[in-house]
Amino acid sequence: MASLASVSFQTASFLASPASASLRRSNSGSGALQVSSVGPRPCPSLRLRFVAMATPTDMNDKLSQSIKEAEEVCVADNGSGECAAAWDEVEEISAEIAHKRVKQSETKDPLEEFCKDAPEADECRVYED
């Protein structure tokens, strides 16, 4: 999944319960992967889920944090390299957030996604005369 960069661990109990099954499906959105994993965890039904939604929250936290840092550094020493580097980091994170937002807003048709990887499949046949 090209656009996913972070993993969110959701509690096994929430995911595993049947009631949440439909919620799980609707949460899949633009490409959630479900990988069953038996890690060093006591609960064998823990699932690792790559969720697109986790990324924006992480990045937004990073953004708020970097803005605070930049403001602190620049109060101390405006015009220095450290100040410029701090604001440069803010710019980089903002750009990445916006970039991801655009990628996700390009609404994904599940069939199209499937056909990108398997154009010879029956479902992907195109009839042109």
């Binding site: 580097a85 440069d88 710019e91 980089e92 903002s94 750009a95 990445e96 957030i97 916006a98 655009v102």
Partner: protein, 382 residues
């Protein structure tokens, strides 16, 4: 041969390698940013606008064509590039099965890499040393030169990946030489050796006012940002930008300037823009487009009895000029089109775009009108 872009189609491999192929490139820049981060969301009501220039590729050789694209938005140009590459042939997408945070885009004919991958310092390293990503000290130009040269010589490379999410340098990915190799980033024309390798170069010059308006639109909704933080971020980076990035303008074959419109007094929304394409004269295989009469100066308002335009209308300018001691041709457009279909009217008056048939460019633009965002870039390959 008509491109596979709208018309029934010879294979894309035929497009580039045949003698006297020419590529005419038209980009609509719209009220939209050439910066991916702003693409779809920001100017939903603005219309595309059109600039045309022509690259004639007479080479019959198989060596990749190397194109450099410079601008300041951290490889956020990729929306622009994504459309461009899909127009060159095939839909562009990140490498399959590779690092999900790769910045590379690959289509049938084109590979676009992000020069941020050549950072020698990662985000933490830059913070420690107090340098921005704009500073040459944060970039490995030796590696950049080596790898672009290898691609040009037809050899595959192991290119590092700069992960914009984590701010770290990830393990490398393999890139094989494509027909068209585009390097986009902050410093494609900074190093003289890399400059020599470029067959064509483009510099996106966004004026300060437009940059500010776009960044506000892009960032204001984000938690944490305020007008002050956006302003501070722009002004803190400006010294390095002016010192290291801006001077690359003089080396570019085409400079695309995005300026505030002159048609709406005191406009600060930035939805209608004035876009100027400054094309260097005397570049091998590149003939600048002209309007009506090559070498003359023309100011043209197409709106009138034959073409109806809504406010604020459209204005074209074409003429010769000098830019950084180079002879250039300037083609400029201010305003916005009312209907995409009316572009055909304008297309019929643009000369030297070598489209195969009347209306081809408009057809391409119509085909790509549904691309995300109001701005679509298109290419007619003949």
């Amino acid at each position: 041969m008509a491109s596979k872009l709208g018309v029934a189609t010879p294979s894309s491999s035929a497009m580039i390698s045949t003698k006297s192929n020419s590529i005419s490139f038209s980009s609509q820049l719209g009220g939209q940013s050439l910066n991916a981060t702003t693409a779809a969301a920001r100017f939903p009501h603005s219309r595309p606008r059109c600039h045309v220039f022509l690259i004639t590729n007479v080479a019959a050789e198989q060596r990749p064509i190397i194109i450099g694209l410079a601008a300041d938005s951290g490889c956020g140009k990729s929306t622009f590039m994504r459309r461009l590459t899909s127009v060159f042939g095939g839909a562009a997408s990140p490498p399959k099965g590779g690092n999900p945070d790769s910045n590379t885009l690959i289509s049938d004919t084109t590979t676009v890499i992000c020069l941020d991958d050549y950072h020698s310092l990662d985000r933490t390293g830059r913070k420690e040393k107090g340098v921005t990503a704009l500073d040459p000290k944060a970039n490995n130009f030796d590696l950049m030169y080596e790898q672009v040269k290898a691609i040009k010589d037809g050899k595959p490379i192991e290119k590092p990946i700069y992960n914009h999410v984590s701010g770290l340098l990830d393990p490398p990915e393999t890139i094989v030489p494509p027909k068209i190799f585009v390097i986009e980033g902050l410093h494609p024309m900074f190093d003289a050796r890399v400059r020599e390798l470029l067959d064509f170069s483009i510099y996106l010059d966004i004026s300060d006012e437009v940059k500010f308006a776009w960044k506000i639109q892009r960032d204001m909704a984000e938690r944490g940002h305020s007008l002050e933080s956006i302003k501070a971020s722009i002004s803190a980076r400006k010294p390095d930008f002016d010192a290291f990035i801006d001077p690359q303008k003089q080396y570019a074959d085409v400079v695309i300037q995005v300026l505030p419109t002159q048609l709406i007094p005191d406009d600060n929304e930035g939805k209608v823009l004035r876009v100027r394409m400054i094309m260097k004269e005397g570049v091998p295989h590149f003939k600048p487009v002209h309007l009506f009469d090559e070498g003359s100066t023309v100011s043209w308002v197409p709106c009138g009895r034959k073409l109806t335009c809504s406010y604020p209308g459209i204005k074209f300018f074409y003429g010769p000029d000098t830019y950084y001691d180079n002879e250039v041709t300037v083609l400029e457009m201010d305003g916005q089109f009312d209907k995409l279909e009316e572009l055909i009217y304008v297309e019929s008056h643009l000369s030297n775009i070598s489209s195969k048939f009347y209306g081809e460019i408009t057809q391409q633009m119509l085909k790509h009108a549904d691309y995300p965002g109001p701005c679509t870039a298109f290419l007619s390959i003949i």
